[in-house]
Symmetry: C2
Subunit: 453 residues, 2 copies
Amino acid sequence: MKLDTIRLIINSSRKFINIGARQKLWNLLKNFHPPDLAGFINHFTDREKIILFVTIHENDNEKAAEVLSELAPEDAADLIQQIPIDTATKIFHELPSDDMAPILELVSEELKNKILTSLEERPTEEVKELLEHEEETAGRIMSPNFYALNENTNVSDAITAMQLEGDVESAFYLYVVDDRNHLKGVVSLRQVLFSKPNTPLKNIMTTDVISVQTDTDQEEAARVVADYNLVAIPVTDSEMKLVGVITVDDIIDVIDQEATEDMYKMVSLDTTDRIKDSPYSSVKKRLPFLLFSLLTASIAPLVVNHFKGTIQQVVTLAVFMPLVAALGGIAGNQTVAIIVREIAVGQTEWISAKKALFKEIVVGISNGIIIGLILGAVSYAILGNPYLGLVLGLAVIINLFIAAMVGTLIPLFLKLIKLDPALGSVNLLTMCTDSLGLLTFLGLGTLFLNYLI
Amino acid sequence: MKLDTIRLIINSSRKFINIGARQKLWNLLKNFHPPDLAGFINHFTDREKIILFVTIHENDNEKAAEVLSELAPEDAADLIQQIPIDTATKIFHELPSDDMAPILELVSEELKNKILTSLEERPTEEVKELLEHEEETAGRIMSPNFYALNENTNVSDAITAMQLEGDVESAFYLYVVDDRNHLKGVVSLRQVLFSKPNTPLKNIMTTDVISVQTDTDQEEAARVVADYNLVAIPVTDSEMKLVGVITVDDIIDVIDQEATEDMYKMVSLDTTDRIKDSPYSSVKKRLPFLLFSLLTASIAPLVVNHFKGTIQQVVTLAVFMPLVAALGGIAGNQTVAIIVREIAVGQTEWISAKKALFKEIVVGISNGIIIGLILGAVSYAILGNPYLGLVLGLAVIINLFIAAMVGTLIPLFLKLIKLDPALGSVNLLTMCTDSLGLLTFLGLGTLFLNYLI
């Protein structure tokens, strides 16, 4: 959708809200898909949001539920806390349990209990079960709604059974279980369509089902779906009993979320920090990381402090300090980005850490020699002192070697101690390349001091 | 799969390859899924790879084709150029056209033509058509295989027609077209399953079909699929005639690829740079960017050069230079990451650039004041000179303001001039925060020079 169209819709909606023209508001909005409506909603003030959302609910409760599903859980929780409780309950009736769980977790305990008790038996149990699984696991994001039938059911009965079950959101497979609900196979709806009515499911099912367990990390589940080109993956408990299904739309959300998290963690950002947050909330989120940065960034001054005497005699060294530090930082960031990203898309299983380290070091030294030679030659040409060129060139070569080594080791080390490989890696890297790079540069400067004065 | 298991399989395979025990090799490999086999292959030498791949082909040609599909196009092209042409042709017979196109583009013109002429009519035409679309567009990644039937077909005839069409890779929808092949609607296979045999498709189809055009950017197509929770999206030409379908597995590849590209472009990396590349190839890929970095990183020394006199008199200023620069760089990177990522997941349509800039500046100044005050106070406490504390604190406040402003403007500006918002953004940012930050710091130092000596 074009930005102008969006502006127009938002301005008109706002006008209708302010003059209380709810029917006109609905006429304007009714033809939009829920994801579009969810996109619009963030542009309104809290008061406008409520009127808009309640208007959708009054005209099409199911659509209101879909809009709620499409909002980020924090935004959905915000909204739900501001509308009348009976409206909220009605909307929750239409919400699939897997979309309900993350929202309920963010509202007050009181509201959560009210909503849960007002819901009928089944979804309440389902939501409670989902909430029992750890965050960011397959169990937490799976949907408890899916088609599963006994292996002895024939195709014709299977079709009837699925029809009775009603519409199951994005169901493309029929899972086949034994008498004790163990996952035995899978049949695509395409196969069902093409098979004779009296064929038992066990004759047409694929027995080699790829599945994950409830405690599998959601990122790992996403990788399995991506690697095997699936559109849904069944989730079993520890006894291989089928308990849920994760559909590919939720997998895409996980992949997006993890890509954002990787990038955010690399630069030491809270993973929930967004542009639309209030400045106050962003300051609160970023400050701890900046205080941590203040610590990591304080190492380099301690190093430089030791060389005050050298700098006093050759101030030109101070001039080139930012260059040596920046080149190390940039080359190191490249290595960090490669290693973090390859770990994220699951390549680490395939690479040996030793090979990666060796390769990056070779690349670092090679690039260092080329950049170092250029820099040394240029600075000699401009400043006329060959020793300054030598010191500068050597420092760059060594700092690019340090950058390659540290840039590889930081994410691998973070992974080894079970932290996220991206976590604060750019901070830690800058700390190393700044302090070790300047140590090298000023150290070499001190060594050649007599030739530099 | 556990790393140990993988090692074991690779070592055993290697042994079987070396003693020529091809049957044993096949027995070892036959139970693995194609994505697993594709993962293994990268661990072997070129000679071993060929034997392994040809062994798979001899025993199960379809599996060989699937393995080829799972490899990165560059790796697949490499492999295909080393095996006998008739083997290659046989494998290509089994390959869907959308997987064929990217591989054929990377092999020699001669081999490409040989393979194309040896294929039968239909796939050749299809591949040629795919190759006619621009890279990174929906037209390039769509599959020309899908179920599409006339709107007047009834459900029973539709089932027969689909059966005759044979197995279409991951088909979950039946598209409905008019007599001139214009896309009119969509029916899920679930709906087909649940409808009476004599119902015409037009009675059960959803007419509000979300589609993209052949020239739509692949990233935009991916965003549409992600936003609307689809498992496939139809692709039309400019006249709304249905020409292809993109399935969600290809969408996931696009999302992964774009996430990698964002991170890589931020740190100025070639988007094809991988750990498994040879050091030589990585040096070649990274060097141009490092040379560009050499230029951007050379601005700060020019700035510092102007303040040599000040530094000579107050060497302590040189000690704190890396701290001022690092804090600006870290805070700026945070802003860049947020803006780049929100543009990537499609939030920019929803945010106004002005609001984002205002918000980031408020956050930057607020954090700057807090960090600046702490730093100023601590340095005063340690060094005993209140003016040094003042200069340092002020410089940090101003540099965090600069970082916020520049960090927001760089990606937005790059987007405005139709470049990738992430492209080299960290380099450009470091250039600004280093040079402007040091200009501020040393400028303030010169201003307060009399109080610092």
